[in-house]
Subunit: 253 residues, 2 copies
Protein backbone atom coordinates (compact mmCIF):
# COMPACT_ATOMS: atom_id res chain seq x y z
CA UNK A 1 0.00 0.00 0.00
CA UNK A 2 1.20 3.49 -0.85
CA UNK A 3 1.09 5.61 2.30
CA UNK A 4 -0.34 9.07 1.54
CA UNK A 5 -0.62 12.23 3.65
CA UNK A 6 -2.72 15.18 2.49
CA UNK A 7 -1.72 18.65 3.74
CA UNK A 8 -4.63 21.08 3.55
CA UNK A 9 -8.33 21.24 4.35
CA UNK A 10 -9.91 23.13 1.45
CA UNK A 11 -12.06 21.94 -1.42
CA UNK A 12 -9.40 19.95 -3.26
CA UNK A 13 -8.05 18.43 -0.03
CA UNK A 14 -11.52 17.29 0.98
CA UNK A 15 -12.24 15.70 -2.40
CA UNK A 16 -8.84 13.93 -2.27
CA UNK A 17 -9.64 12.59 1.20
CA UNK A 18 -12.90 11.10 -0.08
CA UNK A 19 -11.19 9.70 -3.18
CA UNK A 20 -8.33 8.01 -1.29
CA UNK A 21 -10.81 6.55 1.19
CA UNK A 22 -12.01 4.33 -1.67
CA UNK A 23 -8.57 3.42 -3.01
CA UNK A 24 -7.29 -0.13 -2.60
CA UNK A 25 -3.71 0.68 -3.68
CA UNK A 26 -3.11 3.79 -1.61
CA UNK A 27 -4.09 4.58 1.95
CA UNK A 28 -4.47 7.94 3.60
CA UNK A 29 -2.59 7.64 6.88
CA UNK A 30 -2.86 11.27 8.06
CA UNK A 31 -4.11 14.77 7.21
CA UNK A 32 -2.61 18.10 8.22
CA UNK A 33 -5.13 20.87 8.85
CA UNK A 34 -4.68 24.14 10.71
CA UNK A 35 -7.99 23.41 12.47
CA UNK A 36 -9.20 19.88 13.23
CA UNK A 37 -12.87 20.89 13.08
CA UNK A 38 -12.68 21.64 9.34
CA UNK A 39 -12.29 17.94 8.58
CA UNK A 40 -13.90 15.98 11.43
CA UNK A 41 -17.04 15.41 9.29
CA UNK A 42 -14.87 13.49 6.84
CA UNK A 43 -12.55 11.39 9.00
CA UNK A 44 -11.62 10.36 12.52
CA UNK A 45 -9.95 13.21 14.41
CA UNK A 46 -7.07 10.93 15.42
CA UNK A 47 -5.99 11.02 11.77
CA UNK A 48 -5.84 14.81 11.71
CA UNK A 49 -2.78 16.71 12.93
CA UNK A 50 -2.47 20.46 13.35
CA UNK A 51 1.31 20.38 13.71
CA UNK A 52 3.92 19.85 11.00
CA UNK A 53 6.15 18.25 13.64
CA UNK A 54 3.66 15.42 14.14
CA UNK A 55 3.64 14.41 10.48
CA UNK A 56 4.19 10.66 10.05
CA UNK A 57 6.48 8.98 7.57
CA UNK A 58 4.72 8.45 4.23
CA UNK A 59 5.49 7.60 0.59
CA UNK A 60 3.68 10.65 -0.75
CA UNK A 61 2.82 14.05 0.72
CA UNK A 62 0.18 15.98 -1.21
CA UNK A 63 0.12 19.73 -0.50
CA UNK A 64 -3.43 20.86 -1.37
CA UNK A 65 -3.34 24.52 -0.32
CA UNK A 66 -3.82 27.82 -2.14
CA UNK A 67 -1.23 28.62 -4.83
CA UNK A 68 0.56 31.32 -2.87
CA UNK A 69 1.01 29.12 0.23
CA UNK A 70 2.68 26.19 -1.58
CA UNK A 71 6.29 27.40 -1.22
CA UNK A 72 6.02 28.32 2.45
CA UNK A 73 4.18 25.11 3.41
CA UNK A 74 6.75 22.98 1.58
CA UNK A 75 9.56 24.90 3.31
CA UNK A 76 8.06 24.21 6.75
CA UNK A 77 8.03 20.42 6.36
CA UNK A 78 10.37 18.97 9.03
CA UNK A 79 11.89 16.22 6.87
CA UNK A 80 14.04 15.79 3.75
CA UNK A 81 14.32 13.57 0.67
CA UNK A 82 10.67 12.51 0.63
CA UNK A 83 8.23 12.85 -2.28
CA UNK A 84 6.23 16.07 -1.88
CA UNK A 85 3.76 17.18 -4.56
CA UNK A 86 1.37 20.08 -4.98
CA UNK A 87 -2.03 20.09 -6.69
CA UNK A 88 -1.95 23.40 -8.56
CA UNK A 89 -2.50 23.99 -12.26
CA UNK A 90 -0.52 27.18 -12.41
CA UNK A 91 2.40 26.75 -9.99
CA UNK A 92 5.72 25.35 -11.28
CA UNK A 93 7.20 22.12 -9.95
CA UNK A 94 10.14 24.19 -8.73
CA UNK A 95 8.02 26.27 -6.38
CA UNK A 96 8.35 23.36 -3.96
CA UNK A 97 11.21 23.51 -1.47
CA UNK A 98 14.47 21.85 -2.60
CA UNK A 99 14.93 19.72 0.51
CA UNK A 100 12.38 17.14 -0.71
CA UNK A 101 11.77 15.32 -4.02
CA UNK A 102 9.26 17.32 -6.05
CA UNK A 103 6.17 16.43 -7.99
CA UNK A 104 2.73 17.60 -9.07
CA UNK A 105 -0.64 15.88 -8.86
CA UNK A 106 -3.09 18.30 -10.50
CA UNK A 107 -6.74 17.19 -10.64
CA UNK A 108 -8.20 19.19 -13.51
CA UNK A 109 -11.79 19.67 -12.40
CA UNK A 110 -13.97 22.28 -10.74
CA UNK A 111 -14.86 21.15 -7.23
CA UNK A 112 -17.87 22.45 -5.34
CA UNK A 113 -17.92 22.27 -1.57
CA UNK A 114 -20.31 19.58 -0.44
CA UNK A 115 -21.15 18.38 -3.95
CA UNK A 116 -19.96 14.79 -4.30
CA UNK A 117 -17.74 14.05 -7.30
CA UNK A 118 -17.02 10.76 -9.03
CA UNK A 119 -13.25 11.11 -8.79
CA UNK A 120 -12.65 8.18 -11.17
CA UNK A 121 -13.60 10.49 -14.07
CA UNK A 122 -11.43 13.43 -12.95
CA UNK A 123 -8.33 13.86 -15.15
CA UNK A 124 -5.16 13.97 -13.05
CA UNK A 125 -2.01 15.54 -14.52
CA UNK A 126 1.17 14.29 -12.91
CA UNK A 127 4.79 15.39 -13.07
CA UNK A 128 7.93 14.48 -11.12
CA UNK A 129 11.68 14.92 -11.21
CA UNK A 130 12.65 11.28 -11.66
CA UNK A 131 11.14 8.09 -13.03
CA UNK A 132 10.88 6.22 -9.70
CA UNK A 133 8.80 9.02 -8.26
CA UNK A 134 6.79 9.17 -11.47
CA UNK A 135 5.90 5.50 -11.15
CA UNK A 136 4.78 5.90 -7.56
CA UNK A 137 2.78 9.03 -8.38
CA UNK A 138 1.24 7.31 -11.39
CA UNK A 139 0.19 4.34 -9.24
CA UNK A 140 -1.30 6.58 -6.53
CA UNK A 141 -3.14 8.74 -9.10
CA UNK A 142 -4.47 5.70 -10.98
CA UNK A 143 -5.80 4.33 -7.71
CA UNK A 144 -8.27 7.24 -7.55
CA UNK A 145 -8.80 8.15 -11.24
CA UNK A 146 -9.14 6.39 -14.59
CA UNK A 147 -7.69 9.40 -16.44
CA UNK A 148 -4.06 10.04 -15.50
CA UNK A 149 -1.79 12.06 -17.83
CA UNK A 150 1.93 12.88 -17.79
CA UNK A 151 2.02 16.66 -18.17
CA UNK A 152 5.08 18.87 -17.70
CA UNK A 153 5.07 22.33 -16.08
CA UNK A 154 4.73 24.24 -19.38
CA UNK A 155 1.95 22.00 -20.62
CA UNK A 156 0.18 22.20 -17.27
CA UNK A 157 0.28 25.97 -17.40
CA UNK A 158 -1.22 25.90 -20.90
CA UNK A 159 -3.93 23.51 -19.69
CA UNK A 160 -4.69 25.85 -16.83
CA UNK A 161 -5.11 28.80 -19.20
CA UNK A 162 -7.32 26.67 -21.47
CA UNK A 163 -9.32 25.67 -18.37
CA UNK A 164 -9.90 29.35 -17.58
CA UNK A 165 -11.47 29.73 -21.04
CA UNK A 166 -13.70 26.64 -20.91
CA UNK A 167 -14.66 27.00 -17.24
CA UNK A 168 -14.31 30.52 -15.74
CA UNK A 169 -15.04 32.43 -18.94
CA UNK A 170 -17.82 30.07 -20.04
CA UNK A 171 -19.44 30.59 -16.64
CA UNK A 172 -19.27 34.36 -17.16
CA UNK A 173 -21.17 33.89 -20.45
CA UNK A 174 -23.81 31.90 -18.52
CA UNK A 175 -23.99 34.89 -16.17
CA UNK A 176 -24.53 37.29 -19.08
CA UNK A 177 -27.20 34.98 -20.50
CA UNK A 178 -28.94 35.08 -17.14
CA UNK A 179 -28.74 38.89 -16.97
CA UNK A 180 -30.30 39.23 -20.44
CA UNK A 181 -33.12 36.88 -19.40
CA UNK A 182 -33.75 38.82 -16.19
CA UNK A 183 -33.77 42.15 -18.00
CA UNK A 184 -36.47 40.84 -20.35
CA UNK A 185 -38.36 38.85 -17.74
CA UNK A 186 -37.94 35.38 -19.17
CA UNK A 187 -36.85 32.50 -16.93
CA UNK A 188 -33.14 31.59 -17.27
CA UNK A 189 -34.25 27.96 -16.81
CA UNK A 190 -35.39 27.94 -20.46
CA UNK A 191 -31.70 28.05 -21.44
CA UNK A 192 -30.50 25.20 -19.22
CA UNK A 193 -31.12 22.30 -21.64
CA UNK A 194 -29.25 24.31 -24.31
CA UNK A 195 -26.32 24.85 -21.92
CA UNK A 196 -26.09 21.12 -21.21
CA UNK A 197 -26.39 20.10 -24.86
CA UNK A 198 -23.73 22.65 -25.91
CA UNK A 199 -21.29 20.96 -23.53
CA UNK A 200 -22.45 17.45 -24.44
CA UNK A 201 -21.95 18.07 -28.15
CA UNK A 202 -18.23 18.62 -27.58
CA UNK A 203 -17.87 15.10 -26.19
CA UNK A 204 -18.32 13.75 -29.73
CA UNK A 205 -17.94 16.72 -32.11
CA UNK A 206 -14.97 19.09 -32.45
CA UNK A 207 -15.78 22.72 -31.53
CA UNK A 208 -15.24 23.65 -35.21
CA UNK A 209 -17.91 21.18 -36.31
CA UNK A 210 -20.26 22.13 -33.47
CA UNK A 211 -20.14 25.87 -34.20
CA UNK A 212 -23.48 27.35 -35.32
CA UNK A 213 -25.22 30.72 -35.07
CA UNK A 214 -25.39 34.11 -36.78
CA UNK A 215 -21.61 34.76 -36.60
CA UNK A 216 -20.83 31.41 -38.23
CA UNK A 217 -23.47 32.02 -40.95
CA UNK A 218 -22.26 35.61 -41.34
CA UNK A 219 -25.88 36.66 -40.80
CA UNK A 220 -25.22 40.40 -40.51
CA UNK A 221 -28.88 41.31 -40.13
CA UNK A 222 -29.35 39.12 -37.02
CA UNK A 223 -26.02 40.31 -35.57
CA UNK A 224 -27.10 43.96 -35.93
CA UNK A 225 -30.50 43.19 -34.45
CA UNK A 226 -28.88 41.42 -31.46
CA UNK A 227 -26.50 44.32 -30.86
CA UNK A 228 -29.42 46.76 -30.85
CA UNK A 229 -31.02 44.75 -28.03
CA UNK A 230 -27.93 44.81 -25.79
CA UNK A 231 -28.22 47.91 -23.62
CA UNK A 232 -25.22 46.93 -21.47
CA UNK A 233 -21.91 48.13 -22.94
CA UNK A 234 -19.91 45.21 -21.52
CA UNK A 235 -22.31 42.71 -23.12
CA UNK A 236 -22.15 44.50 -26.49
CA UNK A 237 -18.33 44.53 -26.42
CA UNK A 238 -18.19 40.80 -25.66
CA UNK A 239 -20.81 40.11 -28.35
CA UNK A 240 -18.73 41.93 -30.98
CA UNK A 241 -15.42 40.34 -30.02
CA UNK A 242 -16.70 36.77 -29.86
CA UNK A 243 -18.63 37.23 -33.11
CA UNK A 244 -15.37 38.40 -34.70
CA UNK A 245 -13.54 35.44 -33.16
CA UNK A 246 -16.01 32.96 -34.69
CA UNK A 247 -15.82 34.70 -38.07
CA UNK A 248 -11.99 34.67 -38.03
CA UNK A 249 -12.14 30.94 -37.34
CA UNK A 250 -14.45 30.48 -40.29
CA UNK A 251 -12.00 32.11 -42.68
CA UNK A 252 -9.14 30.07 -41.22
CA UNK A 253 -10.79 26.74 -41.99
Amino acid sequence: MIKVIVIGSGNVAQHLILAFAKSTTATLIQIYSRQKETLTHLLDSSKITTSFNELLEADLYIIAVSDDAIDSVSAQLPFINRLVVHTSGSVALNALDNKNRKGVLYPLQTFSKGKPMDFSTVPICIESENSNDFQLLDKAAKSISDAVFAVNTDQRKALHVAAVFVNNFVNNLYQIGKEICEEHQVPFDILKPLILETANKIMTLSPEDAQTGPAKRNDLETIASHLSLLSNKNQATIYKILTQSIQDNGTKL
Copy 2:
Protein backbone atom coordinates in the same frame (compact mmCIF):
# COMPACT_ATOMS: atom_id res chain seq x y z
CA MET B 1 -56.13 14.62 -32.76
CA ILE B 2 -54.46 17.85 -33.84
CA LYS B 3 -53.53 17.60 -37.52
CA VAL B 4 -50.04 19.02 -38.11
CA ILE B 5 -48.11 19.74 -41.30
CA VAL B 6 -44.40 20.58 -41.21
CA ILE B 7 -43.00 22.72 -44.01
CA GLY B 8 -39.24 22.28 -44.38
CA SER B 9 -36.65 19.52 -44.42
CA GLY B 10 -33.70 20.86 -42.42
CA ASN B 11 -32.44 20.02 -38.96
CA VAL B 12 -35.35 21.48 -36.97
CA ALA B 13 -37.94 20.03 -39.39
CA GLN B 14 -36.40 16.57 -39.08
CA HIS B 15 -36.36 16.68 -35.29
CA LEU B 16 -40.00 17.86 -35.27
CA ILE B 17 -40.97 14.99 -37.56
CA LEU B 18 -39.42 12.49 -35.13
CA ALA B 19 -41.01 14.22 -32.13
CA PHE B 20 -44.55 14.30 -33.59
CA ALA B 21 -44.21 10.66 -34.63
CA LYS B 22 -44.32 9.82 -30.90
CA SER B 23 -47.15 12.22 -30.00
CA THR B 24 -50.53 10.80 -29.03
CA THR B 25 -52.34 14.19 -29.14
CA ALA B 26 -51.07 15.48 -32.47
CA THR B 27 -50.48 13.67 -35.73
CA LEU B 28 -48.24 14.65 -38.58
CA ILE B 29 -50.39 14.26 -41.69
CA GLN B 30 -47.97 15.67 -44.28
CA ILE B 31 -44.56 17.28 -44.87
CA TYR B 32 -43.55 19.77 -47.51
CA SER B 33 -40.00 19.43 -48.80
CA ARG B 34 -38.45 20.79 -51.99
CA GLN B 35 -36.93 17.35 -52.55
CA LYS B 36 -38.58 14.12 -51.39
CA GLU B 37 -35.26 12.30 -50.99
CA THR B 38 -34.18 14.56 -48.11
CA LEU B 39 -36.82 12.99 -45.86
CA THR B 40 -37.52 9.48 -47.15
CA HIS B 41 -35.28 8.00 -44.43
CA LEU B 42 -37.68 9.43 -41.85
CA LEU B 43 -41.15 8.79 -43.25
CA ASP B 44 -43.15 7.24 -46.07
CA SER B 45 -42.76 9.18 -49.32
CA SER B 46 -46.56 9.31 -49.75
CA LYS B 47 -46.60 11.74 -46.80
CA ILE B 48 -44.13 14.10 -48.48
CA THR B 49 -45.25 16.71 -50.99
CA THR B 50 -43.01 18.94 -53.09
CA SER B 51 -45.84 21.27 -54.12
CA PHE B 52 -47.55 23.93 -52.00
CA ASN B 53 -50.73 23.31 -54.04
CA GLU B 54 -50.95 19.74 -52.76
CA LEU B 55 -50.93 20.78 -49.08
CA LEU B 56 -53.78 19.15 -47.15
CA GLU B 57 -56.09 20.82 -44.66
CA ALA B 58 -54.57 20.84 -41.16
CA ASP B 59 -55.03 22.49 -37.77
CA LEU B 60 -51.43 23.69 -37.60
CA TYR B 61 -48.79 24.43 -40.24
CA ILE B 62 -45.23 24.66 -38.90
CA ILE B 63 -42.80 26.50 -41.17
CA ALA B 64 -39.34 25.19 -40.23
CA VAL B 65 -37.13 26.91 -42.78
CA SER B 66 -34.21 29.36 -42.57
CA ASP B 67 -35.04 32.77 -41.10
CA ASP B 68 -34.84 34.68 -44.36
CA ALA B 69 -37.22 32.29 -46.16
CA ILE B 70 -40.06 32.51 -43.62
CA ASP B 71 -41.88 35.48 -45.16
CA SER B 72 -41.74 34.18 -48.75
CA VAL B 73 -42.77 30.63 -47.78
CA SER B 74 -45.72 31.92 -45.72
CA ALA B 75 -46.74 34.16 -48.65
CA GLN B 76 -46.76 31.19 -51.04
CA LEU B 77 -49.23 29.12 -49.04
CA PRO B 78 -52.38 28.64 -51.19
CA PHE B 79 -54.94 29.03 -48.38
CA ILE B 80 -56.18 31.63 -45.90
CA ASN B 81 -57.33 31.90 -42.25
CA ARG B 82 -55.43 28.84 -41.02
CA LEU B 83 -52.92 28.71 -38.15
CA VAL B 84 -49.38 29.08 -39.55
CA VAL B 85 -46.37 29.29 -37.21
CA HIS B 86 -42.62 29.58 -37.68
CA THR B 87 -39.87 28.06 -35.51
CA SER B 88 -37.34 30.90 -35.39
CA GLY B 89 -35.89 32.56 -32.30
CA SER B 90 -35.10 35.84 -33.98
CA VAL B 91 -37.93 36.43 -36.47
CA ALA B 92 -41.00 38.43 -35.36
CA LEU B 93 -44.48 36.93 -35.38
CA ASN B 94 -45.42 39.56 -37.94
CA ALA B 95 -42.94 38.32 -40.51
CA LEU B 96 -45.58 35.73 -41.39
CA ASP B 97 -47.99 36.61 -44.20
CA ASN B 98 -51.23 38.32 -43.12
CA LYS B 99 -53.57 35.96 -44.97
CA ASN B 100 -53.26 33.31 -42.25
CA ARG B 101 -53.43 33.32 -38.43
CA LYS B 102 -49.92 33.73 -37.07
CA GLY B 103 -47.97 32.02 -34.36
CA VAL B 104 -44.52 30.87 -33.25
CA LEU B 105 -43.31 27.51 -32.00
CA TYR B 106 -39.62 28.01 -31.17
CA PRO B 107 -37.75 24.97 -29.84
CA LEU B 108 -34.80 26.44 -27.94
CA GLN B 109 -32.14 23.81 -28.43
CA THR B 110 -29.14 23.11 -30.64
CA PHE B 111 -29.93 20.27 -33.02
CA SER B 112 -27.26 18.16 -34.67
CA LYS B 113 -28.04 16.31 -37.86
CA GLY B 114 -28.36 12.60 -37.19
CA LYS B 115 -27.90 12.92 -33.42
CA PRO B 116 -31.12 11.79 -31.71
CA MET B 117 -32.64 14.21 -29.20
CA ASP B 118 -35.05 13.55 -26.35
CA PHE B 119 -37.56 16.19 -27.46
CA SER B 120 -39.51 15.94 -24.20
CA THR B 121 -36.73 17.96 -22.51
CA VAL B 122 -36.51 20.64 -25.24
CA PRO B 123 -38.02 23.98 -24.11
CA ILE B 124 -40.60 25.24 -26.61
CA CYS B 125 -41.50 28.93 -26.64
CA ILE B 126 -44.92 29.61 -28.11
CA GLU B 127 -46.74 32.76 -29.18
CA SER B 128 -49.94 33.46 -31.09
CA GLU B 129 -52.31 36.29 -31.96
CA ASN B 130 -55.40 34.99 -30.12
CA SER B 131 -56.19 32.73 -27.20
CA ASN B 132 -57.90 29.95 -29.22
CA ASP B 133 -54.79 29.54 -31.33
CA PHE B 134 -52.67 29.73 -28.20
CA GLN B 135 -54.57 26.83 -26.66
CA LEU B 136 -54.14 24.69 -29.75
CA LEU B 137 -50.45 25.56 -30.04
CA ASP B 138 -49.97 24.86 -26.34
CA LYS B 139 -51.62 21.45 -26.69
CA ALA B 140 -49.54 20.55 -29.75
CA ALA B 141 -46.30 21.74 -28.11
CA LYS B 142 -47.06 19.91 -24.86
CA SER B 143 -47.65 16.73 -26.84
CA ILE B 144 -43.94 16.72 -27.80
CA SER B 145 -42.26 18.56 -24.87
CA ASP B 146 -42.59 18.80 -21.09
CA ALA B 147 -41.25 22.37 -21.10
CA VAL B 148 -43.59 24.78 -22.93
CA PHE B 149 -43.40 28.52 -22.23
CA ALA B 150 -45.51 31.49 -23.36
CA VAL B 151 -42.93 33.93 -24.75
CA ASN B 152 -43.73 37.08 -26.75
CA THR B 153 -41.68 38.36 -29.70
CA ASP B 154 -39.53 40.74 -27.61
CA GLN B 155 -38.82 38.11 -24.98
CA ARG B 156 -38.06 35.54 -27.65
CA LYS B 157 -35.56 37.88 -29.26
CA ALA B 158 -33.88 38.40 -25.85
CA LEU B 159 -33.78 34.62 -25.32
CA HIS B 160 -32.21 34.20 -28.73
CA VAL B 161 -29.47 36.71 -27.89
CA ALA B 162 -28.90 34.99 -24.53
CA ALA B 163 -28.73 31.66 -26.39
CA VAL B 164 -25.99 33.07 -28.62
CA PHE B 165 -23.95 33.79 -25.47
CA VAL B 166 -24.48 30.41 -23.76
CA ASN B 167 -24.25 28.33 -26.95
CA ASN B 168 -22.41 29.95 -29.90
CA PHE B 169 -19.99 32.02 -27.82
CA VAL B 170 -19.39 29.25 -25.27
CA ASN B 171 -18.55 26.94 -28.15
CA ASN B 172 -16.03 29.48 -29.43
CA LEU B 173 -14.36 29.40 -25.98
CA TYR B 174 -14.20 25.59 -26.27
CA GLN B 175 -12.50 26.15 -29.62
CA ILE B 176 -9.94 28.51 -28.09
CA GLY B 177 -9.31 25.99 -25.28
CA LYS B 178 -8.64 23.37 -27.94
CA GLU B 179 -6.26 25.67 -29.83
CA ILE B 180 -4.24 26.37 -26.67
CA CYS B 181 -4.01 22.62 -25.98
CA GLU B 182 -2.89 21.90 -29.53
CA GLU B 183 -0.27 24.63 -29.47
CA HIS B 184 1.23 23.10 -26.30
CA GLN B 185 0.73 19.49 -27.34
CA VAL B 186 -1.63 18.37 -24.61
CA PRO B 187 -4.80 16.42 -25.48
CA PHE B 188 -7.98 18.56 -25.47
CA ASP B 189 -9.72 15.47 -24.02
CA ILE B 190 -8.23 16.33 -20.60
CA LEU B 191 -10.59 19.32 -20.50
CA LYS B 192 -13.79 17.46 -21.38
CA PRO B 193 -14.84 16.45 -17.84
CA LEU B 194 -14.32 20.08 -16.77
CA ILE B 195 -16.49 21.30 -19.67
CA LEU B 196 -19.30 18.95 -18.65
CA GLU B 197 -19.08 19.80 -14.95
CA THR B 198 -19.06 23.56 -15.69
CA ALA B 199 -22.39 23.15 -17.47
CA ASN B 200 -23.75 20.72 -14.87
CA LYS B 201 -22.99 23.10 -12.01
CA ILE B 202 -25.39 25.67 -13.49
CA MET B 203 -28.27 23.23 -13.18
CA THR B 204 -28.19 23.73 -9.39
CA LEU B 205 -25.99 26.80 -8.72
CA SER B 206 -26.45 30.34 -10.05
CA PRO B 207 -23.61 31.50 -12.34
CA GLU B 208 -22.66 34.06 -9.65
CA ASP B 209 -22.20 31.31 -7.07
CA ALA B 210 -20.44 29.00 -9.53
CA GLN B 211 -17.85 31.60 -10.59
CA THR B 212 -14.26 30.71 -9.65
CA GLY B 213 -10.80 31.41 -11.05
CA PRO B 214 -8.05 34.05 -11.05
CA ALA B 215 -10.35 36.88 -12.22
CA LYS B 216 -12.84 36.19 -9.44
CA ARG B 217 -10.03 35.99 -6.85
CA ASN B 218 -8.40 39.08 -8.36
CA ASP B 219 -5.20 37.00 -8.60
CA LEU B 220 -3.21 39.50 -10.67
CA GLU B 221 -0.05 37.38 -10.73
CA THR B 222 -1.80 34.40 -12.34
CA ILE B 223 -3.65 36.69 -14.78
CA ALA B 224 -0.35 38.26 -15.90
CA SER B 225 1.26 34.84 -16.20
CA HIS B 226 -1.66 33.56 -18.32
CA LEU B 227 -1.51 36.59 -20.61
CA SER B 228 2.21 36.05 -21.16
CA LEU B 229 1.44 32.53 -22.40
CA LEU B 230 -1.15 33.63 -24.97
CA SER B 231 0.73 34.28 -28.21
CA ASN B 232 -2.47 34.76 -30.20
CA LYS B 233 -3.73 38.36 -30.10
CA ASN B 234 -7.41 37.37 -30.39
CA GLN B 235 -7.06 35.01 -27.42
CA ALA B 236 -5.34 37.68 -25.30
CA THR B 237 -8.06 40.24 -26.12
CA ILE B 238 -10.81 37.80 -25.13
CA TYR B 239 -8.89 36.85 -21.97
CA LYS B 240 -8.65 40.50 -20.90
CA ILE B 241 -12.28 41.38 -21.66
CA LEU B 242 -13.79 38.35 -19.94
CA THR B 243 -11.47 38.78 -16.93
CA GLN B 244 -12.71 42.38 -16.71
CA SER B 245 -16.32 41.20 -17.07
CA ILE B 246 -15.92 38.76 -14.15
CA GLN B 247 -14.25 41.44 -12.03
CA ASP B 248 -17.01 43.98 -12.80
CA ASN B 249 -19.54 41.37 -11.70
CA GLY B 250 -17.64 40.89 -8.47
CA THR B 251 -17.85 44.58 -7.59
CA LYS B 252 -21.55 44.67 -8.55
CA LEU B 253 -22.48 41.96 -6.03
